[in-house]
């Protein structure tokens, strides 16, 4: 690991040195960072925080452009087709990996259409239930669900959403198929969970932390490796007996295929700096997440993550047999 870091730092330094000759003083104008989701959502929030901080470091404004639609694939395909000059970037989450299987007719080749800048953050999920749900801990929950499978409804925010992925993983782990109730987005799903119209959901901490703290829903476990500072009383899935549920909604920055390595290295270095910014750390903490480490915020780190995640989700999605096209 240490060797990789050293070699990466070396590459970065070399790249920086050579880039003065190659693409003199990149960036020379505003950079557009495409978010493949509507303004105001959790991914948009992450993007704007990162873009703002990186802008200061790069000396050029990073403009955030929301290109929503088709589970993020519209925005991704727009960036895949953009000029590979480093002035069009993409910030996408785990959907980049899952849409490779969820969509059978993607207009781009997920693993070969992009250059990588780096991972940004990994937002954990929480397994939650309506306030008056019987079970007191995850073990109890699993037993109860197994005994009453025909009565339980599992909510999600639509095909391909974080909550849908996590729900599939949950059913895969406990080997019990449940009645799933899709919603159009997290808001309505959470409303029905608050109102007790549905029983269970598994969603990002971004959406659930405040409700858990407010006592309006019950939390059984977080899907991260360690307990969260924001929710110290909620055990991890490993502690609670479902280690296979470890999952996170990771976010990464991509550039179109053919973008010079000097550019992606420079962006990656800037990303690493941004992720150490106290403001970003504080804001991420409020969302229940932390920035990734330096060796993940690199082209190699993101490439490895994307490849392993495409492979991880393929069988789960295929087993569920639900596709988005």
């Amino acid at each position: 690991m240490r060797n990789t870091i050293i070699s990466l730092v070396a590459t970065a330094t070399f790249a920086l040195a050579s880039s003065t000759a190659f693409s003199q003083g990149y960036p020379e104008r505003n950079i557009t960072m495409v978010v493949p989701f509507a303004a105001g959502g959790p991914t948009d929030t992450v993007t704007r925080l990162v873009a703002e901080t990186m802008s200061k470091d790069l000396g050029q404004q990073i403009l955030v452009e929301n290109v929503g639609g088709a589970g993020g694939t519209l925005g991704a395909s727009q960036v895949a087709k953009a000029e590979p000059d480093g002035y069009t970037l993409l910030l996408h989450h785990i959907g980049m990996a899952t849409s490779a299987t969820l969509y059978r007719k993607l207009p781009y080749d997920t693993l070969n259409a992009f250059e990588y800048v780096g991972l940004v953050t990994d937002v954990p999920m929480t397994i939650v239930a309506k306030k008056d749900f019987e079970a007191t801990d995850l073990k109890g929950l699993v037993e109860y669900v197994k005994a009453n499978a025909d009565k339980i409804s599992l909510a999600n925010a639509g095909i391909g959403a974080a909550s849908h992925l996590c729900g599939m993983l949950f059913m895969n782990e406990i080997k019990v198929p449940l009645v799933t109730v899709p919603y159009k987005g997290t808001g309505p799903a959470m409303t029905d969970l608050l109102g007790g119209q549905v029983d269970l959901m598994c969603d990002q901490t971004t959406n659930t932390t405040k409700q858990i703290k407010g006592g309006t829903i019950k939390a059984y476990a977080v899907t991260s490796a360690k307990r969260l500072d924001a929710l110290p009383d909620v055990p991890t899935v490993a502690e609670a007996g479902l280690p296979g549920m470890q999952v996170g909604i990771w976010h990464g920055i991509y550039a179109p295929k053919g973008t010079p390595a000097e550019v992606t290295q420079k962006l990656s270095a800037s990303l690493q700096k941004a992720l150490k910014d106290p403001n970003i750390i504080a804001r991420f903490a409020e969302l229940g997440t932390v920035p990734v480490t330096d060796d993940e915020a690199t082209p190699a780190g993101l490439k490895a993550k994307l490849e392993s995640e495409v492979a991880r989700w393929k069988p789960i999605i295929e087993a569920a047999g639900q596709y988005a096209d």
Binding site: N30, T32, L63, V64, E65, E83
Partner: protein, 153 residues
């Protein structure tokens, strides 16, 4: 007494409903209809399409009972210039960039009116472009490229 002549307006309207209904019905039939518990994606639209076809038939029947009204003039010139304008904007805003694309879009639209003279149009469209660039691009900071890659930038 109402005359028994057909209202072409209602016939066309009824036919339109029926055709659109048939289109949706055929498309929906190709989808899974499902059960009442787990309705498939085709269930609800299929029912709706059926209702639309039925309404189309009623409109045609009623059309035979209502007095005929003239259709009025049709805005051919308007359609020829107005409808392509947003399409042109869509085709060029990324390539040409915001400024030239908007200028040409408004210019195309301007010629929909027979009252528009070329000089007037250029003046009007020029002012409009400047206003839009100041408001949308500078003041609001929308992420549009002002001049696009097709112009060698």
């Amino acid at each position: 007494m109402k005359s028994l002549s057909f209202s072409s307006r209602d016939i066309v309207c009824g036919l339109l409903f029926i055709l659109v209904g048939l289109f949706f019905a055929m498309q929906a039939y190709g989808l899974e209809l499902g059960t009442a518990f787990r309705m498939g994606p085709g269930y609800f639209p299929f029912v709706l399409a059926g209702i639309l076809i039925l309404l189309g038939i009623i409109v045609i029947i009623q059309g035979t009972q209502i007095e005929h009204e003239p259709m009025g003039p049709i805005a051919w010139r308007g359609m020829l210039f107005i409808l392509p304008a947003p399409i042109f904007f869509g085709l060029t805003v990324r390539g040409l960039g915001f400024v030239p694309s908007l200028f040409l879009t408004a210019l195309i639209a301007a010629f929909a009116s027979t009252k528009m003279r070329p000089g007037m149009a250029l003046l009007l469209v020029g002012g409009l472009t400047i206003f839009s660039v100041v408001v949308f691009s500078y003041a609001l900071g929308l992420p549009f490229r002002r001049f696009g890659p097709w112009l060698g930038q």
